[in-house]
């Protein structure tokens, strides 16, 4: 026993040493592999931009990444490519068609391809920090359409969804000044722009003070200032389901006075369902985005109006900013890191002029392969 003891101690000592060594190596590897905090990544990007001031990139490869597939993004594509042409840089536009994992894969592929700058509309920013910061390590990162607060993005280009939502809410309030039952339809509520747009609509309708940080519970109906928000219905982009939602809500709430579709197709389907049920014009619609049936509805007077974004501007300004940064122009980023491209309200008065401009931009996006 006595003879064995020192031997065991030596063995144990070696094991401890080895364990410590392995742990230390693993820890240092992990630290090396782990992504630096967002603030550090922003600083690192700015350092790179300062470097570009001395040696501007000749023809940078820039990318515009959407959060899905829609006409909206085709117009953004036209804007991105037009900017690429004007500024003489290569532009890759990608549309993830199958949600979060698809977008992640496409972003990773862009990094592997050695992209110099990316403008992305993150689907679920809170849970995408890692992939967003991975990009920021390798390329310049900005966001468009939907922001990713707390990530290493240098700038957000888009409209303030809260304010745009308010515009839609105010449109609804004007159309329904004496209150009534209101239902909200939206594709999904996970993403930042959807949450802000939803809250903006509610605050605008109820003419509350401007507070983008306010959060009402969207799962419960509530009454305020004469308006009853009977509920919010999501559909994960299944149009048959989205249509069924509107039909079912009409059934459940016979006194429904107004609906809003906060994603493009939600408004289009509301027009469709009310026409089919012979109730077009009876239940009012405050719309979002520029679906063709919504614009026809505005002309006919069965839709109050619609709040439209400027996707062409998102595309054009994204590429313009990324290009400026690769030339070392750090001051191209606005002070608060937000480049606001405000939404517009389209009503019967300006629908025709808006529509012809839209058609021209969409045709340009479609022609670009």
């Amino acid at each position: 026993m006595g003879a064995g003891y020192p031997c065991c101690a030596r063995l144990r000592g070696m094991t401890i040493h080895r364990t410590v060594a392995v742990l230390a190596t693993a820890l240092s590897l992990c630290t090396a592999m782990a992504i630096a905090p967002a603030a550090d990544l922003v600083a690192a990007q700015k350092e790179r931009i300062a470097g570009y001031a001395k040696q501007p990139m000749k023809s940078p490869h820039l990318s515009f990444v959407s959060n899905g597939v829609a006409d909206f993004w085709t117009i953004a594509k036209a804007g991105s490519l037009a900017a690429g042409k004007d500024l003489g840089c290569e532009v890759t536009v990608v549309f993830p068609g199958a949600g979060l994992s698809d977008q992640k894969r496409m972003l990773e592929d862009l990094v592997i391809r050695g992209i110099d700058g990316v403008s992305v509309s993150p689907i679920d920013p809170k849970n995408q920090m890692e992939v967003l910061n991975q990009i920021a390590e390798q390329a310049l990162l900005i966001t468009n359409d939907s922001d990713a607060p707390g990530s290493a993005r240098l700038c957000y280009i888009g409209m303030d969804n809260y304010l745009a939502g308010r515009q839609c809410g105010e449109l609804a309030r004007k159309g329904l000044p004496n209150g009534g039952e209101v239902a909200i339809f939206i594709g999904r509520l996970e993403q930042d722009n959807a949450k802000r747009r939803w809250q903006g609509f509610v605050d605008g309708l109820l003419s509350r003070s401007v507070d983008a940080e306010r959060r009402d519970d969207h799962t419960k109906p509530f009454t305020e200032a004469g308006y009853t928000i009977v509920g919010t219905w999501t559909d994960s982009f299944d149009r048959a389901k989205a249509k069924a939602n509107i039909e079912d809500v009409m059934t459940r709430y016979p006194k429904l006075a107004l609906v809003t579709g906060l994603f493009e197709y939600n408004s289009v389907l509301a027009v469709e369902v009310f026409r089919q049920a012979g109730r077009a014009g009876q239940i009012k619609i405050a719309a979002f985005d520029e679906g063709a049936d919504v614009l026809v509805g505005i002309r006919e007077g069965i839709v109050l109006g619609t709040v439209v974004q400027d996707p062409y501007g998102y595309g054009y300004e994204s590429i313009k900013l990324l290009h400026a940064l690769t030339q070392g122009k750090l001051d191209a980023i606005p002070k608060d890191g937000v480049m606001n491209i405000p939404a517009r309200t389209i009503t019967k008065d300006n629908v025709d002029a808006f529509w012809s401009d839209l058609k021209a931009k969409l045709a340009a996006g479609k022609a670009a392969k």
Partner: protein
């Protein structure tokens, strides 16, 4: 019908609960919507029921719905084809897709799961590529053509309830399918093939032709369903139109008594299974349960339905056995 007591029970319970606690379940408008949705999804489920009857599976039907649903407005609006050309072309195209599946499964002996999984990716990919990922819609045109799906037929004696036009293709197809299965030798052979393909083949049944025929029928009905869906909804996005519809169809067929091991198809069961799924989705909205709970509720009720069916079947078998022994 006897084997559907469990399912019928679940269907009735969901209806009664929604009628009692939900709002306006029994209004004409809601019933019209339910008949419409059941008809649309039943057409898909009938097709996949045949394939399941042969012991196969078709995972591609949601993508066929997408491809056809996109192709119809794309050809009509973007390319200016006439409806008289578009309808036969897309239906023939769907049948060809089914023929390809059938030949790959029977001649090349590939797994149906694999063949149709590849189809699921392929057809959606084609739809996205050919339209450049653009959503396609009728832009307010072709109202007459669309009335095949959105039309409502007045019924004598009923003022507010008008029969959704999609009921007609469903009834015609269901009657043909039921007669085929129960009254023709081909129907018997199809089920025999599903029960034991080797035995069926050795007894001289042309199993390869039957299996191929089932895939053709499935894709053809998916194509027809896709056409009716796009007529109903009016516009579609290639990346999401018809997503997961294969699972709704398969769930309805299995719920309706089609065994995934093959050899058993029930037309009444398929329609009842689809109706149960649609009423369930409707009731979640009418009861105000919130869309977050939707899948959980559907999953739980389906499981209860299948379990109840199985228990009723066992109880019935045991009773027959007792009677035989007595």
């Amino acid at each position: 019908m006897r084997k559907h007591w469990g399912l019928l029970g679940i269907f009735l319970v969901v209806c009664i609960v929604t009628a009692l606690y939900g709002k306006n379940f029994l209004t004409a408008y809601n019933l019209m919507n339910l008949v419409q949705r059941t008809a649309l999804f039943s057409i898909l489920a009938l097709g996949v029921g045949f394939v399941i009857g042969t012991g196969g599976i078709d995972l591609s039907l949601g993508s066929v719905v997408c491809l056809v649903g996109i192709a119809v407005p794309w050809l009509l609006i973007e390319h200016g084809w006439s409806p008289w050309t578009v309808v036969p072309v897309v239906l023939a195209g769907s049948a060809l897709i089914g023929l390809a599946h059938g030949l790959l499964v029977t001649r090349l002996r590939l797994q149906p799961f694999l063949v149709t999984l590849c189809g699921l990716l392929l057809y959606r990919g084609i739809a996205r590529w050919m339209t450049g990922d653009q959503s396609q819609g009728f832009q307010g045109e072709f109202a007459e053509l669309r009335s095949i799906a959105v039309g409502r037929i007045p019924l004598p004696g009923l003022e507010t309830f008008r029969l959704p036009a999609t009921t007609i293709p469903l009834v015609v197809l269901a009657v043909i399918a039921a007669l085929f299965l129960a009254r023709t030798v081909w129907g018997r052979w199809l089920l025999a093939t599903g029960s034991n393909e080797a035995a069926a083949r050795y007894s001289g049944i042309p199993t390869a032709r039957l299996v191929t025929g089932a895939y053709v029928a499935c894709s053809l009905l998916a194509g027809l369903g896709g056409m009716l869906f796009i007529f109903d909804v009016g516009s579609a996005q290639p990346s999401d139109f018809g997503n997961f519809y294969e699972l709704y169809a398969i769930a309805a067929a299995v719920l309706g008594g089609c065994s995934l091991r093959g050899g058993s198809v029930s037309v009444v069961g398929i329609v009842l299974g689809t109706a149960t799924l649609q009423v369930l989705r409707n009731s979640i909205n009418l009861l105000g349960l919130g869309s977050q709970l939707e899948f959980a509720v559907i999953g739980a009720v389906l499981l209860a339905g299948v379990a109840a069916d199985e228990l009723v079947r066992r109880w019935h078998a045991a009773r027959l056995e007792r009677r035989g022994a007595g």
